[in-house]
């Protein structure tokens, strides 16, 4: 059960951090007129196509005693980031970034720009426009971003293994635990964890599609 709790703790933290970081980032990506924005988009989407081991390898190097991130951490806290829970969180934030940012950008871009113009002309600052118009109208996108980020972090394997290793209670997540069980021919234990993940994923997705439908209807009725 420690593995399951650890995975949930990781997924919660990563989702929370990403929401705070990715929302302004997505806002900028959706509304900037900067011509080189496609470069940033490509970088953000990299984790989607890179083998997790490649991303994990470079993160491990960066977090190690000779890497920039590792050196910084060493100077600040007296240890490096590799094979720690914090390191795992940082790696997961990067790895799950596209899953959080893409639904947000898509729903921001789908908004009728005339609504944003109307809000500005009616005296609302950009911040008020964001809170009162953009965010409520993008709620389905925000929910999708939360669920995808959460589920994706919950199930990651390659990056976790590269960066975090396999330390019980610190970096051993559910997926790694399942792999361990299979390696040791403990199929019953593997099945227990795998089934738990399967059910959780299914419930989350049902929630997404259900909410999306109701969110869509909410503006039509009541």
């Amino acid at each position: 059960m420690t593995e399951l709790l650890l995975s949930f703790r990781l997924a919660f933290l990563v989702t929370a951090i990403l929401l705070v970081l990715a929302t302004p980032f997505a806002y900028w990506l959706a509304f900037t007129k900067w011509r080189a924005k496609f470069l940033i988009e490509a970088i953000v989407a990299l984790p989607l196509v890179l083998p997790p081991t490649v991303l994990g390898f470079y993160l491990l190097i960066a977090m190690g005693p000779r890497g920039p991130l590792g050196k910084l951490w060493l100077a600040l806290f007296g240890h490096t980031l590799a094979f720690t829970f914090t390191g795992l969180v940082i790696a997961s934030v990067l790895y799950s970034l596209p899953f959080c940012i893409q639904p947000l950008v898509a729903s921001f871009e789908r908004l009728d720009p005339k609504l944003l113009d109307a809000s500005r002309v009616l005296g609302a600052s950009k911040w008020r426009t964001f809170r009162k118009i953009i965010l409520p109208l993008s709620l389905p996108g925000v929910i999708i971003a939360i669920v995808l980020t959460f589920a994706h972090t919950l199930g990651e394997f390659g990056v976790v293994l590269m960066v975090g290793g396999n330390l019980q209670g610190i970096t051993r997540t559910v997926s790694i635990s399942i792999y361990d069980h299979v390696q040791s021919i403990e199929y019953a234990e593997a099945n227990q964890l795998a089934l738990t993940l399967l059910v959780i994923s299914f419930v989350l997705l049902t929630f997404v599609y259900g909410t999306n439908r109701r969110a869509g209807l909410r503006w039509l009725t009541n």
Partner: protein
């Protein structure tokens, strides 16, 4: 005219290169003033009308120029001053109502009143709901409103903030005539009570007639003419504007002779020997001219009329007749093909059908020279 414009409340001077994807690129270069009351900004689509409004509202930044309202500068390219749209305190109604879909009509109207205290806000909203006959729609969401209702809520939302200037971008296009008229009546009533500069963009001649005290015509980013609607639109100096202001016939011809004493000249229409008499222009014999004629200004007769003051009586053959709502569109070949509009009863009385031999009667002053 000049007196009206001496104390303008909105003055606009902007330059901006537009490279729109939908329209051909052009340089917007306008300089005009809008006194209190309704001023129409008229011109064919793609002329730059909406761009002018966006510049005034601050949604587009001109490359140079100056925009001010009642002495307060909103934009000054030279002084590097550009007040953001939310601080300009203007009303702007788009072609689409652009109501916030997740808010009720009432919440939409309240949106621009965030700075007011609760009691004051409630009072203003209640007043405007009553004024625009929207009380029973107050708790509806935009998706539950008809097009006309939604546009009326949007108008109320703009006006409840007591804007210093009201900008309207073809707000009535797509609405049927009855709705148009009732919204126009509301707007006129507001105008009478508040007297702020209202700049109304349209390419619909009937809206100009219903609303305009003043009209500024614009084409390809430049101001072509300004004045009172009847003078400007009944004597358009540009072909594109002539077409937009309801001149169905644009004829080309060569000046045959000029009669200075009579104040007229005679023009031979291209591709025919037909000669018509038109008012005197600056052209010399042999020059090319273009003549705009309203289809409604053309008289049709079955026999050659005599004893008329009208100087142009042309013989022709009816090519086609087509009914469009309460009007019969007749195309008559009299050397050149002319479109004439007659009422249904007139068409019946003359039993018009293709092939009918006809006489066309045209006053000299119904022929307008255009560039």
């Amino acid at each position: 005219m000049a007196d009206e414009l001496t104390s303008p409340s909105l003055s606009v001077r902007t330059k901006l290169a537009r490279s729109g994807a939908s329209s051909s690129p052009f340089l917007l270069d306008v300089d005009f003033s809008v006194p209190p009351g309704i001023t129409i900004l008229f011109g064919p689509s793609g002329a730059g009308k909406s761009t002018v409004l966006d510049c005034i509202a601050g949604l587009i930044t001109p490359s140079e120029g100056r925009i001010s309202v009642s002495g307060e500068t909103l934009f000054d390219g030279a002084a590097n001053k550009n007040i953001p749209p939310q601080n300009r305190h203007l009303g702007y109604l788009f072609q689409s109502p652009a109501l916030f879909p997740h808010l009720t009509s009432k919440q939409n109207i309240e949106y621009g009143l965030a700075n007011l205290q609760n009691g004051e806000r409630e009072k203003s909203v209640a007043e405007i709901l009553k004024l625009f006959h929207l009380e029973n729609l107050a708790s509806r969401k935009p998706a539950q409103l008809s097009g006309g209702e939604a546009q009326r809520v949007a108008l109320a939302r703009s006006l409840v903030t007591n804007p210093r200037v009201l900008l309207l971008d073809e707000p009535l296009s797509g609405l049927d005539t009855d709705l148009k008229n009732s919204i126009i009546a509301d707007l006129r009533a507001w105008n009478a009570a508040h007297q702020i500069p209202i700049l109304y963009v349209t390419h619909d001649r009937s809206e100009v007639d219903a609303l305009g005290e003043r009209v500024i015509t614009i084409d390809k980013g430049k101001i072509v003419q300004q004045g009172i609607p009847r003078e400007v639109l009944d004597a358009p100096r540009h072909e594109r504007l002539a077409l937009a202001s309801g001149f169905e016939n644009i004829l080309e011809g060569i000046v045959k002779d000029v009669r200075l004493d009579d104040g007229v000249m005679r023009v031979v229409l291209n591709g025919s020997t037909t000669t018509i008499e038109v008012p005197l222009g600056h052209e010399k014999p042999g020059d090319k001219v273009r003549i705009a004629i309203r289809a409604g200004d053309i008289l049709l007769a079955l026999e050659k009329p005599s004893g008329l003051s009208a100087r142009n009586v042309l013989q022709g053959t009816l090519q086609s007749v087509e009914q469009r709502s309460a009007t019969m569109i007749c195309k008559v070949n009299a050397g050149a093909v002319l479109e004439a509009h007659v009422t249904l009863s007139a068409a019946r009385a003359l039993s018009l059908h293709p092939g009918t031999e006809l006489w066309i009667v045209l006053k000299t002053y119904s022929c307008h020279l255009v560039a």
